[in-house]
C-alpha cells in the first residue's frame, strides 16, 4: 500500500512538473473530440511548419528573458531581415526588382547579410542594456521604433517606392516553402531548420560557458559579477545571438510568404514572449528550457490552428484564445503555489 501511494504521488509530482506538456496533450485531445478529423498527418505537418519560424524567434527571445531582459524589437528585426533578404534575392526576370541590375545571388548571401544586419542591431540592444544600464524594456522599445523607421526607409525607395517586395527567386521560395517528400507527404524544410536551431540553442544553453553564465546573470547578476563573470560581454552576446536568430527567421518569413513589407513581423515579439512564458520561462530571469519554449510555441500554434480548423468565429476565437492562455499558465502555476 505504501509503495503504491508513493508511486501515485510520484506520478502526481511528475504531472505537476510537466503540466505544460500535459496541457498541450489535453488541448489536442479536446480539439480531436470536437472534430475527429483534426487528427491527420497534414494537420500535424501544418502545425509544425507554422511553428518553425516562431520557434526560432522564441528561442532568441527566451535567452534574453532568461538573462532577465526582454526584447520588444524582435518583430521589427524580423521585418528588417525579411525586407533586406527579399530585396537581395528577387528573380532575375521579375519586373519590379528593387535592384534591377543585381544578378541572382546564391541563396546563402542574402541570408547571411540579413543575419548580420539584425545581429548588429541585437548587439546594439545588448550594448545599450549592459553599458548604459537602460532597462531592456525601454532599450528594445526604442529599438523597435527605430528599426521600423530604418526598415521603412530602406523599403520605401526608388525605383518602385513602398511596394511589397515580391517576385522572390525560386531558390528562396524553395528554401522556405518546399520540403522532403516522404511517401505521400512533404516534410517541410522549415521543420528541419527549427530542429537544427533548437539543438544548437540547447547545446549552447546547457553545455557551454555562455549558457551557464546566461542562467547565472538572470538568476542573480550580483553573484555573477562577484564571481568574475563579465556580465556586460555575456549580455551583449546573448542579444547578438537573438539578433542572428531573428535574421534567419526573417528570411524564412519572406520566403514562406513569398514577399516582404515593412510591416512583416509586426508584433511577433508579443507572441514569442507569451509562448516562452507559457513554456515556463520566467520573466524575472534565470529559468527556462528549450523543450519548454518549443512546447509554449506549439501550444499557441495548436490553439490558433485548432480554433480556425474548428471553424470558431474569429471574434469568439479571441475570447477562447485569451482564456486558454490564462488557464494553461494558471495550471502550470499550481506546481509553485502548492502551499508550503
Amino acid at each position: 500500500m505504501n509503495t503504491q501511494a508513493t508511486k501515485k504521488s510520484t506520478i502526481v509530482k511528475w504531472l505537476f512538473d510537466n503540466v505544460i506538456y500535459v496541457f498541450l496533450i489535453l488541448l489536442v485531445i479536446g480539439i480531436v473530440i470536437a472534430s475527429p478529423d483534426f487528427l491527420s498527418m497534414t494537420n500535424l505537418i501544418n502545425i509544425l511548419s507554422q511553428s518553425s519560424s516562431r520557434i526560432i524567434i522564441a528561442l532568441g527571445i527566451a535567452g534574453i528573458l532568461i538573462l532577465g531582459g526582454t526584447d520588444l524589437s524582435a518583430g521589427r528585426m524580423v521585418g528588417l531581415a525579411a525586407v533586406v533578404s527579399a530585396s537581395l534575392l528577387q528573380a532575375g526576370d521579375y519586373a519590379y526588382k528593387m535592384y534591377p541590375n543585381l544578378p541572382e545571388l546564391p541563396l546563402f548571401v542574402p541570408i547571411i547579410i540579413a543575419m548580420l544586419v539584425t545581429g548588429l542591431f541585437g548587439t546594439l540592444n545588448g550594448f545599450i542594456v549592459s553599458k548604459f544600464h537602460v532597462p531592456p524594456f525601454i532599450a528594445t522599445l526604442g529599438m523597435m521604433i527605430g528599426v521600423y523607421g530604418i526598415t521603412s526607409i530602406y523599403f520605401d525607395r526608388p525605383p518602385y517606392g513602398a511596394q511589397p517586395i515580391g517576385g522572390l527567386s525560386e531558390s528562396f521560395t524553395t528554401f522556405a516553402q518546399k520540403g522532403i517528400k516522404l511517401g505521400q507527404y512533404e516534410f517541410p524544410y522549415l521543420i528541419l531548420y527549427a530542429i537544427a536551431f533548437s539543438i544548437i540553442i540547447w547545446v549552447l544553453w546547457n553545455k557551454t560557458q555562455l549558457g551557464k553564465n546566461m542562467y547565472a546573470i538572470g538568476g542573480n547578476p550580483e553573484a555573477a559579477k562577484v564571481s568574475g563573470v563579465n556580465v556586460a560581454k555575456n549580455i551583449i552576446i546573448i542579444y547578438m545571438i537573438a539578433g542572428l536568430l531573428y535574421g534567419f527567421s526573417g528570411t524564412l518569413e519572406a520566403g514562406r510568404v513569398g514577399s516582404a513589407t515593412n510591416n512583416t513581423g509586426n508584433m511577433y515579439e508579443l507572441d514569442a514572449i507569451a509562448a516562452c512564458v507559457v513554456g515556463g520561462v520566467s520573466l524575472s530571469g534565470g529559468i527556462g528550457t528549450v523543450p519548454g519554449v518549443i512546447t509554449g510555441v506549439l501550444i499557441f500554434q495548436v490553439i490558433n490552428y485548432g480554433l480556425a480548423f474548428l471553424g470558431v468565429s474569429p471574434y469568439i476565437q479571441f475570447i477562447v484564445k485569451g482564456a486558454i492562455i490564462i488557464v494553461a499558465v494558471a495550471f502550470d502555476m499550481r506546481k509553485h503555489a502548492k502551499k508550503k
Binding site: S40, T42, N43, N46, Q50, S53, A95, S152, F155, D156, G161, A162, Q163, P164, I165, G166, G167, T173, Q177, E253, R256, V257, G258, S259, A260, T261, N262, N263, T264, N266, M267, N304, Y305, A308, F309, L310, G311, V312, S313, P314, Y315, I316, Q317
Partner: protein, 333 residues
C-alpha cells in the same frame, strides 16, 4: 438581439446548418478595418444559404494568412476568397491552391497581373488603388476651382494643403498619396505641400497631427487631404476644436471610403466629399465568383459581372459629394 449577431456569424463560418453546402475559405486581411468589415458583411449576406463561408481574420499579418490558407485547404475548402495582406504574396497562395486544384478569388487587394495569369483558376474582384487617388484628386480640383475665391486664403492662386497619409508602405496609402497630388497638378492647379505625415489610418493620431499643424500654419492651410475617412474625421475633430465650421471659418476636407460617419459630415457641410469604396458589390461579387468556382461552374455564371484582360472584375470607386449623397447611403442599405 446582441447575441443574435454573434451566433449568426459563428454558424456562418462553422459547420452548423451550412455544413452541407460547398465550403468557401475566406480571409479578411484585418477584421477591424472599417471598410473591410462592410465587405465582410456583404460577403456574409451573399453567402447565406449558398455556400459555407469559412471566414478568417488575418490580423494584418501575411504569414498568418498563408497559414490560414493551409488550414482552409486542410479543412477541404472548394474555393478560396482571399483578401491579401500583402499583394505580392499572391504567388504563394496560388502555389498552395494549385497543388489541390482549388480556385482562388482574390479581392480588394490586387495581385500582379502576371501572377493571376500564371494560374488559370485565379481571379480578382476589386478596385484599383490608384483610382481612389485619382478620383479624390479630381474631386479636389473641381471643388477648388468652384470655391477658389474663398478657399485660396492667401490669394496666391496655389493650393496649400496638408496630407494625412495612411500606414506607410500600405499600397492604398502609397497610391492615394501619390495619385491625389499628381491628379490635382494634372488639372493645372499649382500646389504647396505644407505638411505630410502619417496618421496610420487612425482618427486619434490624425487629430493630434492636425492639432500641431493648425498651431503651426493656422490660416495658411487651405485644404486637408486624408487617405481615408477615419483620418478625415479625426482632422475635423481637431478643426472644430480650433473654431472651424462655426461662423464663417471653414476648411475643405476630403477622405476616402465614404463610410456612414463621413456621409453625415458631408451632409452637414463639414466635409467636401469622399470616394466610395463599394463594399456591397465587392463582397457580393467575391462570393458569387467563389461560389461558382466551388461548384465547378464558370465563375461568372448567373452574374452580371465581366472579366477584364487581367481576369479581374472591377467594382468602380464612386466620387461622393453632397450632390450625390444618396448613392453613398444606398451602399449601406
Amino acid at each position: 438581439t446582441g447575441c443574435g449577431g454573434t451566433e449568426k456569424s459563428s454558424t456562418d463560418s462553422g459547420k452548423g446548418k451550412d455544413g452541407d453546402l460547398p465550403a468557401v475559405g475566406a480571409t479578411i486581411y484585418k477584421f477591424d478595418d472599417n471598410f473591410m468589415s462592410y465587405v465582410r458583411r456583404a460577403m456574409e449576406t451573399a453567402a447565406d444559404g449558398k455556400v459555407n463561408l469559412m471566414l478568417n481574420d488575418s490580423q494584418n499579418d501575411q504569414a498568418k494568412q498563408v497559414e490560414q490558407v493551409d488550414t482552409l485547404i486542410a479543412k477541404g475548402a472548394k474555393s478560396l476568397a482571399i483578401n491579401l495582406v500583402d499583394p505580392k504574396a499572391a504567388q504563394t497562395i496560388i502555389d498552395k491552391a494549385k497543388v489541390k486544384d482549388i480556385p482562388v478569388i482574390f479581392f480588394n487587394k490586387e495581385p500582379d497581373a502576371s501572377v493571376l495569369k500564371g494560374y488559370e483558376k485565379a481571379y480578382y474582384v476589386g478596385t484599383t488603388s490608384s483610382e481612389s487617388g485619382i478620383l479624390q484628386g479630381e474631386l479636389i480640383a473641381k471643388a477648388w476651382e468652384a470655391n477658389k475665391d474663398t478657399w485660396d486664403k492667401n490669394g496666391d492662386g496655389k493650393l496649400q494643403y496638408v496630407l494625412l497619409k495612411g500606414e506607410p508602405g500600405h499600397p492604398d496609402a502609397e497610391a492615394r498619396t501619390k495619385f491625389v497630388v499628381d491628379t490635382v497638378k494634372e488639372k493645372g492647379i499649382e500646389v504647396d505641400e505644407l505638411a505630410l505625415d502619417t496618421g496610420m489610418w487612425d482618427a486619434m493620431k490624425a487629430t493630434e497631427k492636425m492639432d500641431a499643424w493648425i498651431a503651426k500654419y493656422n490660416d495658411e492651410i487651405e485644404f486637408v487631404i486624408a487617405n481615408n475617412d477615419g483620418m478625415a474625421l479625426g482632422a475635423i475633430a481637431s478643426l472644430e476644436k480650433a473654431g472651424y465650421f462655426s461662423g464663417d471659418k471653414f476648411m475643405p476636407v476630403v477622405g476616402v471610403d465614404a463610410i456612414p460617419e463621413a456621409l453625415e459630415m458631408i451632409e452637414k457641410g463639414k466635409m467636401v466629399g469622399s470616394i466610395l469604396n463599394d463594399a456591397k458589390n465587392q463582397g457580393a461579387a467575391t462570393v458569387q465568383l467563389a461560389a461558382n468556382a466551388a461548384n465547378g461552374k464558370d465563375v461568372l455564371e448567373g452574374t452580371e459581372w465581366k472579366l477584364d484582360d487581367a481576369k479581374a472584375v472591377r467594382v468602380p470607386y464612386i466620387e461622393i459629394t453632397k450632390d450625390n449623397i444618396q448613392v453613398g447611403k444606398d451602399a449601406y442599405k
